[in-house]
């Protein structure tokens, strides 16, 4: 498989550069995925962009895993348009203090993606030029995509989440 050798190549290059900061490398459905840490994330992203030609930021989002020590995963999808290769980077950060450096200095397009992630998950992107809510109203008070907030009105008895899968 061509894709796998490509991914392997990137993996080796990243390990050379960042050593133990690149962990949990896997390849679900052919998409190279690894976990890194928030002190090196901007270096990793810049390195991927400048040296390994992942020129395109596809997406930034987050996932909430309640009850874990580092309960929020910030997920970056990058794309190398020339080699037609994608890569996924995850950074797990603490739920109590969800901060991570901003990627807006690497890609300007990260601006709204980070605002959306902040709005829905409360992830504070340090150094972001304009970190405001984007989809919800400013005085909402909560970050609604966190798992502790139920979808339905919690006072209703006829529509408990557990009957509907969660």
């Amino acid at each position: 498989m061509e894709e796998t050798t490509l991914n392997n190549d990137i993996h080796v290059k990243l390990t050379e550069k960042f050593g133990e900061k690149v962990t949990a490398v896997s390849e679900p459905y052919g998409l190279l995925t690894f976990v890194t840490y928030k002190d090196v994330i901007i270096n990793v992203l810049s390195h991927l962009k400048e040296e390994l030609k992942f020129n395109f930021l596809t997406d930034i989002t987050a996932v909430h895993y309640p009850g874990k020590e580092h309960g929020i995963a910030v997920v970056y999808h990058l794309h190398n348009m020339v080699e037609k290769q994608r890569i996924r980077i995850k950074v797990f950060i603490s739920e109590q203090n969800p901060t991570i450096p901003t990627a807006t200095n690497v890609w300007k397009g990260a601006n709204w993606m980070e605002r959306e992630t902040y709005d829905l998950f409360g992830v504070k992107f340090e150094g972001h030029p304009d970190l405001r809510r984007i989809l919800n109203m400013d005085d909402l008070g909560v970050h609604p995509m966190l798992k502790q907030y139920p979808l339905e009105d919690p006072n209703r008895v006829d529509k408990k989440d557990e009957f509907f899968g969660r």
Binding site: P28, L31, D59, T61, G109, E116, F164, G165
Partner: protein, 404 residues
């Protein structure tokens, strides 16, 4: 300026700047979103975009629904080309479940997706015409959007929010009327599109209004993560259908049109050429369908594909599968998957994490309108108000996709 608190000027006629509230319900925005603009005469000094007016928390709702119930949510993203969203979602789940689709289903999907792309581009391009003052073009080509919706109606029963297809294929085969309507469309549409081009492409007024307006370089477009016709108009030949083929797009012979300067005229030309290419793809698909065995409209995966009602009532196995699918008890791998399709406005991505529960653990939509639109306010600075309006139409921002 502080973007949190846009400066509202008073109505003093001597005052230098004027504040204009473009939206949330302004006819020129074609959707519910607001821009607070500071104007110096007719020139925009600065702008602040406010979005979220139709935010419906689809990502949250999706965490509470089994896979098959998420399709109607995707309808309401880019509602001008719902079938692309529907099928993008179906293909995401099929990728997760490792379902191999029969070629005939792929080709049927390609037909529907390309028809939606034409419908989407018709809306955008005719509205550019409308906003530059050419109402004729709008009224003239829009009837073909109607014809496309008639085809959808024949295939799935709905027109705008289609909920077309199922995970694993289509809910029923295309009938003869549908094929007849597609044939009629393929016969009539090229003539009308040619006439539409004759009305606009070499029109002096139209070129004066659009050429050289809102130019964007490749570098800026990539920096802002633009995709779709907007990116291609700047000269980057990125199209998900080619770079990451899905639904057997690799079997088709088509070209990816690119522009040079990224201005509004180039975007218009790129979209027009894409309509021609879509027609080409549909014609090829119709030919390819003839060599495929008839009557196959879904993959043979009873554990994931909703059985027909007739069988649910008369067949124990079908009843069990039906119950399991409806209750979200399907045996899906615990994994995460990213799947992208080329939507009307660019790369529409689905990032799905499944933890083995009845519903997705997390589903994120990469919505091209949302990501494309963030450049509107910065690029409007220094532009004439009337140019900014056409710029907005040419970006084809669909409020549903913008806010999710």
């Amino acid at each position: 300026m502080n973007h949190n608190h846009p400066v509202f000027t008073d109505n003093d006629p001597q005052s230098e700047l004027v504040t204009l509230n473009l939206g949330p319900t302004h006819p020129a925005t074609h959707g519910v979103f607001q821009n607070v603009l500071q104007l110096d005469g007719e020139r925009i000094v600065s702008g602040v975009s406010t979005i979220g007016y139709i935010h419906r928390a689809f990502e949250k709702i999706a965490e509470h629904r089994p896979f098959y119930q998420i399709t109607p949510l995707t309808d309401r993203l880019n509602y001008c080309s719902s079938p692309i969203n529907n099928m993008g979602w179906h293909m995401t789940v099929e990728k997760l479940l490792n379902i191999q689709m029969p070629k005939r289903v792929d080709y049927l999907r390609v037909i529907i997706m390309e028809l939606s792309r034409i419908a989407d581009h018709i809306i955008c391009n005719t509205i550019i015409g409308q906003d530059t003052g050419a109402t004729t073009t709008f009224l003239y080509l829009f009837q073909f959007r109607e014809h496309i919706y008639e085809i959808f109606e024949e295939v799935c029963g709905a027109r705008l929010t289609t909920n077309i297809g199922r995970i694993g294929g289509f809910e029923r085969d295309f009938n003869d009327i549908a094929f007849a309507k597609i044939d009629k469309f393929l016969k009539e549409f090229p003539k009308a599109l040619k006439e539409f081009e004759n009305l606009l492409s070499r029109n002096r007024i139209f070129i004066d209004r659009t050429a050289g307006v809102a130019e964007v370089t490749k570098e800026t477009a990539l920096e802002y993560s633009w995709t779709g016709p907007l990116l291609r108009a700047t000269g980057v030949d990125y199209d998900v259908r080619v770079s990451d083929p899905y639904s057997s797009y690799q079997d088709f012979d088509f070209e990816v049109p690119v522009g040079t300067s990224g201005d509004i005229y180039d975007r218009y030309l790129v979209r027009n050429e894409e309509m021609w290419q879509s027609v080409r793809i549909i014609e090829q698909a119709i030919v390819k369908l003839k060599t495929e065995p008839k009557g196959i409209f879904h993959a043979d995966v009873p554990e994931f594909y909703l059985p027909p009602k007739q069988e649910v009532y008369n067949n124990m196995e079908a009843l069990i599968y039906h119950f399991k699918i409806v209750m979200g008890e399907i045996d899906a791998p615990k994994a995460e998957v990213y799947h992208a399709v080329e939507g009307g406005n660019g790369e529409l991505g689905f990032y799905l994490i499944n933890d083995g529960g009845r519903t997705p653990y997390r589903l994120h939509f990469r919505r091209p309108s949302f990501i494309n639109y963030q450049m509107f306010a910065p690029m409007s600075e220094g532009m004439l108000l009337s140019d900014a309006i056409i710029n907005m139409s040419s970006m084809n921002i669909i409020a549903g996709e913008l806010d999710a």
